[in-house]
Each structure stands twice: as structure tokens, then as C-alpha cells.
Symmetry: C2
Subunit: 577 residues, 2 copies
């Protein structure tokens, strides 16, 4: 993480470890000791754009979240229920402490962080359970269903959709502590079955070391799924939200990687078939993925595995003169039928400018060369990525990308830029907290778009974003397909008022919906985006998932309080104008 002091004025960055038991220990991204402060030129850019002075960088001491988590919110559940639920998992696997209850209530969207910084404590579970096996989960589901107790699940904790938030109190299952083991490894089928609370890095480590650990494999493997939240994401979370990793262009979204699943639902336990493909009616796996805890609790997942061969990565990066050139090149690559690159992402004009600063290219000799060759500030766009798979396959993919990039006026910046991106890949989120200490917020929204609508969605949504003064909006297309891609918006702006933030965020989702994009490509829906879901799907299609909900959860105990919009009032819903 960057620690280099600035040459001139340096704000009073908070670089201490988060105090144990504090609010900050919950809301801060990642490792409690780690932090990331922006590079000096990025700091200057932000300051300039937001018309701030060094003096404005005054730390919000009362919102650093350093205080111990303490509140006086008694549980709503009766002592008898608490005792019965505790008995299922055992005393050691149940908690009602203030800290544990809050730690599973919120996710990682800006609304969550703002609330925790302001010590707004709401929607808490009455009790947190740490199940050890699927039998305990089945018993908990049955008990909650029989006694009408709301039941929530907390996976890796990086939800940006208010997914795990316990709107109706009740029980939250924290899957991280005990429900994180390998159930079966099948090298012939190249699959692994794990408990849903298995964290991404733990799984990847087991697979990378498969030849020397208990898997006793013939070769090392990879899970192929690396969302930016990788370090704080669980396999179960990937699956129920229909997530995508940054390498999904090669490996596929999680729905491509999942082979079969097991769920504990109020109407019983189901285990889907694990043959590779079938023609046996509607696809049950595709019904369960995306149900976000509203149909049942995902217990076990069988994932397709890939060979771990990072030595085969071929890195590349190209600068284009215009956004249009860059998009055309990307589309041609996606439709080229020479295989897919792994990471493949193109940044718009504003994001390119930001990255040039972050990677220290701005004002370097390379920057001058780019200018000389006609790649202009706030016009040029950066494409970067690398390949995966067998060596010659990857080489051929990279070669074809190069050919197409050149055809569209792209200039190769070699693989070095990709290396810079990789360094920031999982550490950039740390910067968010350091900036928010000064009331500068960073949040993201993303959507799925066809190629023929890409330019318009970019224009429309940016227009909305920029209607707010002093707002940086950077965009990239990642997770691309022959038919389109995921348009990902990041906004950075000074804001400390929750109501103002919510208004802006809501308007942004409206802008996405009005533009004709799908309102989520891989973040899921949760409770935060739920008001837009029926508007996106249309009433008839929305009714289909309502019917499934009614079937699986007739008593409405599974993740209640707005998830997927099931119990929203008509006036809360946003429709396309």
C-alpha cells in the first residue's frame, strides 16, 4: 500500500490499525492494518476538480468510527426462540454481542459506510449463528419457517446491494467462521464441492496448492473467479448474486462456473443434478442462482475448475485516440472467434486520465510521446488485460487483439500498464476509507448493455452523473461479450449527507434504467436496487419470480424486507418512463 509522503502538504491520513471492537473495524475495507493513500498527483487532481484547498482536508474526527461498538437495542425474539436456535448450533456458535450483531447487518455500499460512520444502527439481527454443517442449516431453516422468524445470511460481507441487511431482525447466519470447508474434490470431472461460506482466497489457495495438500491432485487448479471484492467474498455470495470475476471474459460469470448446488429451503432440501448439460425442462440451477437468499439458504456448491497456469498470462495494453475507436476494437475482439482474453477492460476518457495519474504516467516521457502522436487528454482511452489458458492459445488471442487494436489506431503501451493495474486490483478499495475520512465518497454502479446502445448509455448516465457539480465519474467496460458488455461507473464526490447521497444514487439507477441497460450485470439486486427490478423485468416476468418465491417461502421468512422487491409497496417501485 502507498505510504510515500507527499512533497508538499499532506493531509492527516488515518494510517493506524482499526481499534478492535470499533465501528471502523467493521466498515473499513479489508485488513485492519492496511490502508492506501492516493498518489500525490491524484490527490492534486481531486483537490483541483473539487475546488478544494489543503485546508479543506480536515479529518472528520467524530466519523472515523474509532469508538467501540455499543448500543442498547434489545432483541425482538423471545428467550425461548433464542434458546432453541442456540441449541441447534451450540453455545459457542451463537452470539448476541453488539459487535457481532452489527458486523453482519451491513455490507460495503457507501450507504452502509455512511451509516456506520454516523453510528446509525438499524436492521440488526437478534442473534448471529455460525453453523458448522448443512444439517444445522436445515434445522435452522425449519425452525425459522415454523416459527415465522426472519432468516438472513452473511457471506463474505462485500455486498453493495444491502443484500444481508436484516430489515425484519431475526436471525443472521454468518457463514464465514465454520461453514467453509471442502466437501469433495473430483479431479476426473475437474470439480470441487465446497460449503457456501468458503472465502475466495481460501478456495484459491487450496486449489493452487492442490498437488501438495490434502486434495492430492495431479496438477494445480484455479477457481477462475476473481471479483474486485475477492478478498472479502464467499463462494455462496458469488453464486446467489450471480457475480462475475474480473477474468470472466475467459472463465465466464459464476453461473457458467457453477455445476450444481444444494439449498435448504422452507419446503425442503434440494440438490441439483451435476451432469454437464441437459434437456430436462427448465434449468433449476438457473432458477436458484440470483435468488439471493429469498428461496432458501445455499449450502453446498460444486464448481467447475480450471488449470492454474499464471505463467501463460500474456499481458497487453493499448491506447486509442477516441472512445469510439476503443469500443469498436473491443467489439471486434469479442466477435473475433479466436478465443477470449481473460481480463479485458477499456476505460473511458475520464477514467483513462485518472489511471494515467495513478500509474504515474502523466507528465512522463511516455505521456509526451502519446501527446506527440495525437492521443489527447480527455479523449484517449486505455484498453488493458491479459490472457489465460494454454500458452499458444493465449499468444494467439493476444496477437489478434494487437492486430485489431492497430487497425483502430491503438498504440501498444506493452504489458507494464497491466502490471500497474494488477497491483491496484485488490488494493484500490482501501483508498476509499482514507478518502472518506475527509468526506470524499467513492461508489460504483454497473449495468449490462448491448453494443448498439453502449455509446448512448455512456452518454446518458454520465450526463446524469455530471449534473452534480464537483463529481468525478470514471467508466469502463469490462466483462465483455460478442453482444455487449458491462458498463461500470465509479463516482467520486465530496458528500457527507446521507439523504443527498441516496437521492443521487437513486437518480443514477433511474438514469441507467431509462437508458435501456439492464440494472445489474454482476452486483445483484439485494434491497438497494430492488425498487428498479420490476420496472426492468416488466410485470409479467416479475410475476414469475414472485410465484417462485411464494412456492419456496410461503411464510416469507427468507431474507425478507425488500430483497428482489418481493415485499415492496407499488409506490416504492421505479418504472421506465
Amino acid at each position: 500500500m502507498a505510504t510515500k509522503p507527499y512533497k508538499e502538504f499532506s493531509p492527516n491520513w488515518y494510517t493506524e490499525e482499526s481499534p478492535k471492537g470499533s465501528y471502523r473495524a467493521i466498515f473499513k475495507w479489508g485488513d485492519p492494518k492496511a490502508y492506501k493513500i492516493p498518489k500525490e498527483n491524484l490527490y492534486k487532481m481531486v483537490k483541483e476538480l473539487f475546488k478544494m484547498t489543503d485546508e479543506d482536508f480536515v479529518r472528520q474526527e467524530n466519523e472515523l468510527g474509532l469508538e467501540k461498538v455499543e448500543y442498547n437495542i434489545p432483541p425482538t425474539l423471545s428467550a425461548a426462540h433464542i434458546a432453541a436456535l442456540t441449541a441447534i448450533v451450540g453455545e459457542k456458535n451463537a452470539s448476541q454481542t453488539d459487535y457481532d450483531r452489527l458486523s453482519v447487518a451491513y455490507g460495503q455500499t457507501m450507504l452502509d459506510l455512511m451509516r456506520m460512520r454516523k453510528k446509525i444502527i438499524e436492521n440488526l439481527p437478534d442473534i448471529v449463528l455460525y453453523p458448522e454443517n448443512k444439517e444445522q442449516i436445515i434445522k435452522i431453516v425449519d425452525y425459522c419457517n415454523a416459527n415465522l422468524i426472519p432468516l438472513y445470511v452473511y457471506g463474505g460481507g462485500s455486498s453493495v446491494t444491502r443484500g444481508p441487511e436484516c430489515m425484519k431482525n431475526g436471525v443472521s447466519l454468518d457463514m464465514r467462521r465454520n461453514f467453509n470447508k471442502v466437501i469433495e474434490f473430483n479431479e476426473k470431472n475437474q470439480t470441487i464441492t465446497v460449503q457456501a461460506g468458503m472465502m475466495g482466497p481460501a478456495l484459491e489457495k487450496i486449489l493452487n496448492n492442490a498437488t501438495t495438500n490434502e486434495l492430492k491432485a495431479k496438477q494445480p487448479y484455479s477457481c477462475g473467479h476473481f471479483p474486485q471484492s475477492f478478498e472479502y467474498s464467499s463462494v455462496g455470495g458469488w453464486v446467489v448474486t450471480r457475480g462475475a470475476g474480473q477474468n470472466s471474459t475467459y472463465y465466464g460469470k459464476i453461473e457458467d462456473i457453477v455445476l450444481s448446488q444444494e439449498y435448504a429451503t422452507p419446503i425442503g432440501y434440494i440438490k441439483t443434478d451435476n451432469t454437464p448439460r441437459k434437456a430436462t425442462g427448465p434449468d433449476i440451477d438457473q432458477i436458484m442462482m440470483g435468488s439471493e437468499g429469498t428461496f432458501g439458504i445455499l449450502t453446498h456448491v460444486t464448481l467447475r475448475l480450471f488449470k492454474w497456469q499464471p505463467q501463460n498470462h500474456v499481458k497487453y495494453s493499448y491506447m486509442f485516440k477516441t472512445w469510439d475507436d476503443a469500443m469498436n476494437a473491443c467489439r471486434e475482439v469479442m466477435q473475433g472467434e479466436f478465443g477470449m482474453p481473460s481480463v479485458f477492460r477499456v476505460s473511458d476518457q475520464e477514467e483513462t486520465q485518472m489511471m494515467m495519474r495513478m500509474y504515474g504516467i502523466t507528465d512522463s516521457p511516455l505521456d509526451k510521446l502519446l501527446q506527440f502522436r495525437g492521443y489527447k487528454e480527455m479523449e484517449k482511452c486505455l484498453l488493458l488485460g491479459f490472457t489465460d489458458g494454454e500458452k499458444k492459445f493465449g499468444k494467439n488471442v493476444a496477437k489478434n487483439i494487437g492486430k485489431i487494436a492497430h487497425k483502430h489506431g491503438g498504440m501498444s503501451l506493452t504489458g507494464v500498464v497491466t502490471t500497474s493495474w494488477e497491483h491496484g486490483r485488490f488494493s484500490d478499495p482501501y483508498m476509499r476509507d482514507n478518502l472518506q475520512d475527509f468526506n470524499i465518497i467513492i461508489d460504483t454502479l454497473e449495468c449490462s448493455v448491448n453494443w448498439d446502445n453502449m455509446e448512448q448509455v455512456h452518454l446518458d448516465v454520465r450526463k446524469y452523473c455530471k449534473s452534480r457539480p464537483n463529481t468525478i465519474v470514471t467508466t469502463h467496460i469490462s466483462h465483455m461479450y460478442p453482444q455487449g458488455g458491462n458498463l461500470y461507473f465509479i463516482f467520486i464526490t465530496p458528500e457527507k449527507d446521507i439523504a443527498e447521497f441516496r437521492k443521487y444514487h437513486s437518480g443514477l439507477l433511474d438514469a441507467i434504467q431509462q437508458s435501456g441497460a439492464a440494472i445489474s450485470h454482476h452486483h445483484g439486486i439485494g434491497k438497494f436496487f430492488a425498487p428498479w427490478l420490476e420496472g426492468f423485468m416488466g410485470e409479467k416476468q416479475y410475476d414469475i419470480i414472485k410465484v417462485l418465491k411464494q412456492h419456496f417461502d410461503p411464510n416469507g421468512v427468507m431474507n425478507p424486507g425488500g430483497t428482489l422487491g418481493f415485499d415492496l409497496k407499488p409506490e416504492e417501485k421505479h418504472f421506465k418512463k
Copy 2:
């Protein structure tokens, strides 16, 4: 088609055009003028195996189906309903002739052919409608739903699952005649939207000629979907049954190729979103695909397109010493991560022997070389196929296949064998009718299997098949995946009794189910395999599709009479022992 007379005795093959208006004109595969008689050495092999003599090859004159289709089965629908339905599509697009009613009642499974040869006329529609547009289809669905009239759909006509059979009479929509047009071509997104009755060859022709026809495209395209029934299959049939083409290892199954769909259902019209991927709850497209006309009528389909570049095919074929070697090589290719071949199929010992005869290799110098090198009769196994996609991509795939084949003792037979296979690819079904004229039946069953169960399923199902005397059973694995593949059984045996055939067929499905395979990889379920569906899925998962059925079709008018097992009695269902 083969017409060469045999050197010795030649049976009295029926080589005339099917008489117009005859039963044969309906049940005979394909072009009414075309036929295919087995090569002489194949004829000899069949004769020898079935312990038949030339004298046994006596044509069943009364079962050639040369008679005019005539029967006296009055419609069950009232004249008022007939008039109202006719009014929706217009007089010219409605028919109640004996021929037209029978022509949409049956599909192409052996049971259908046997019934037609024996003039067993059952499960007829009362009226056949030929809708011209989706508005007419919506009106028909609404009318049938309001008046409790059973509604069926006939697509390309090659169902082997009794899919379109009108068990409860009523209306059948024959989509072929008028509902077969391009609705929209979008070259930027590389998609085409067509009416569901578009036939495979018509679509492929339009796409291959896209630069010179009304599509005005920049390059020619392909649909990538070529089932063996290609010539007599419709886009709608591909989609509602979850079909797979023979090139699916590269292009994917139809559920990978479909981008979005439109359905007229009793509860209204739905049009799914066409962005490339999303995380907006359960996948509606994956709910509708596989519904086989029981939720609603598929009207429009948007398909992802591919570049048409047959010049890039790299053909290959390898002979392995054992079935085990061949399977291991295939699995290694599928897990190799160098991209996927397009056609990739490996034949078991018996099928290999059959193919060697069909392609004239038996007793040739090549056959002697194989024997000399230790590739033994009824032990050796043939792998063949070709690549698709960009040129160097395909070359690299083929090179890697070669490398892996050699590692497992495979001997290259060059691409010539693949060319022989390609020649028979769409014409082999013609042979079926010529053989059945002598009471020799050919039928197929297929299932989806994981690699770790492949050998056992092959053993178990073959054991059952061979429990019948005088039965040729050939098997191949095609449509392969890193996790397994489709095991496809073809049986050839002398049989003219329908009850005996049904008993054998039913036992074969039992054997597949008991072996742990999924009961259909791409043929669908229809009414024929429906008794096994709940046993395959388990009651809890089967309930999910029952709930969807109840939602879409509360009056039970959509493809009623057993499809997907919705209205079967408990005693009709087959469960795993």
C-alpha cells in the same frame, strides 16, 4: 445417396418417390424423392448379426405406407370454435383435411413410424392453423385459454419425444408454412431475431448469404446449430427442447446461443431482455427454454450469430486401441484450455466397427495397417471431428488434439474419415426407412454423463441393450465438456411389434436412469420420456416446474397430455430403484 447395386443378392429396396398424400409422405425422412440403402458390406454385417438370410429380406408391402391418408375421425371441437379459430388466421391458413391433421400429429421417433406404417391414427388435432404473425398467435392462445381448448405446436417435425402429439385433440399450430421470417438483423450486436417456425436450413442460407441478400451485412454469418435433424428442424423446436447441434462443443447448446425470446402465454405476452448477461434474479430465459410448449408458445427468438468461415475447418481423426484410451484422450482435450473443437465425437468399439464398414475401410489396406499396429476389431475406437473459428485458433486446437491423441496411443487417420462422416451426417437418417421396410428398426437414446461415470453408464446401458438378442448397439460420446459429455446410443434390431418395441425402449430409459445419467442431453422430454422426469429431478425440484406450469397455464391448455409429466398418474412414473 447410395444407389450402387450390390454384387450379389440385392433386396427389393423401395426407391420410388413417396406417393403424394400417402402415409409414407408423412413418416419418411426428408426429401420425398431421396432414399439411402446401406453399403453392401454393412448389409452383410446386419444380415450376419441378425442371423437373417437374403430370403428374410421380404418387403412388408402392407406397411410401406403407400396408401393415401384417409380415416374417419370427426373433430371434437364445436363448429363455433372451428369458425372462431379459422377467423383468427383466415380461411387459407386453416385446415381440417385428413392429411394435414395427421401430418402434425406425430414426430420421428420409431413409435411414430411404426404407428403410421400400421395406420394407427390417434391423438389428432381437430384443426391445424398456420399463423402468419405473433398477433394471431396471441389471439389463438387467448381463445384456447378462454375456451379450454388444448393447444399444440408443430415446428420442424423431427421430435423423438412425442413432443407435438395432440393427446387431447384441439388445435395444432403448424409454424412451418407462414411463421418463418426474419424480424430483425443487428450486425453491431451480431444477432438475428426470427419467427419460431424458421427452419434450420433457411436460416443458415440467409446467414451464409448475408452480404448479398436483404440483410446487407458486412460479412457472412452462421447460426452454429446443426443437429442431425437440421434439415427438418425449426428454430423454435431447437429452443423449447434445449437442443444441441453436432458442432455444439464449439458453438454451445441452443441455450448458449439464444439471447432472448418472446412467448405468448395464457397469462400474457413476455419478451425477455436482450442484454448479454445480468444479475437480476433468476434467469427467465432459462426458465422458458425447456418448457416445450407447456408454458406458452414461443414466437420470436433472438440468436447470437457467428462468422461463417468453413474455410478454416481443420479436420482430424484418430484411432485408439481401447475405449478407455479414447475416453481419456477426450477428457484431456476438454480440460486442455486451448479452446474447443467444433465437432468432436468418439465412437465405442461397436460403432467404430460399423463406421469402418460404412466408410469402406474394413478390409482395405488401411484396415490391415491398423491390425498390424495392434488396433483390434471390436476393441479400437474412432475419434473424429473438425474445428471452427479463426484460422490459427483452429490450427492450435487441432494441434493440441493431435498431441493428446498420440499420448494416449491414438493413430491419425487424417481428415478423410471426417469427410466420410460429414457425407453421411445428414443423409444417414434416410437409411432408416429403407431398412424398416424390412422390419429392421433403428432408434436412438441419449443421456448426459460425468466423466467419472462414463464407463459405467456405457457398460450398464449396453448390458441392457444387449440383453435383447440380435441387436446392434453403437454408442458415441459427442457434445463434450470438461465435466463429461453426451453418451448417445443407437440400436438396430429386427422388430415389428409395437408393444415389444415400447417395452424395450422403456427398459432402456430405466437403464439410463438407474445408471445415474441425466435422461436427456438434447432431445428434450416431451411425452415419451416424461414418466422418467420426476424420478430424475426428485420430487422437490419437479415441484418447481409444476408451480411454473400452474402459473403460466392455470387451465392446462398448453400442450396437455403428459408433456414434461405434468398430468401423469403416480403409477405411470418411473423412479430410481
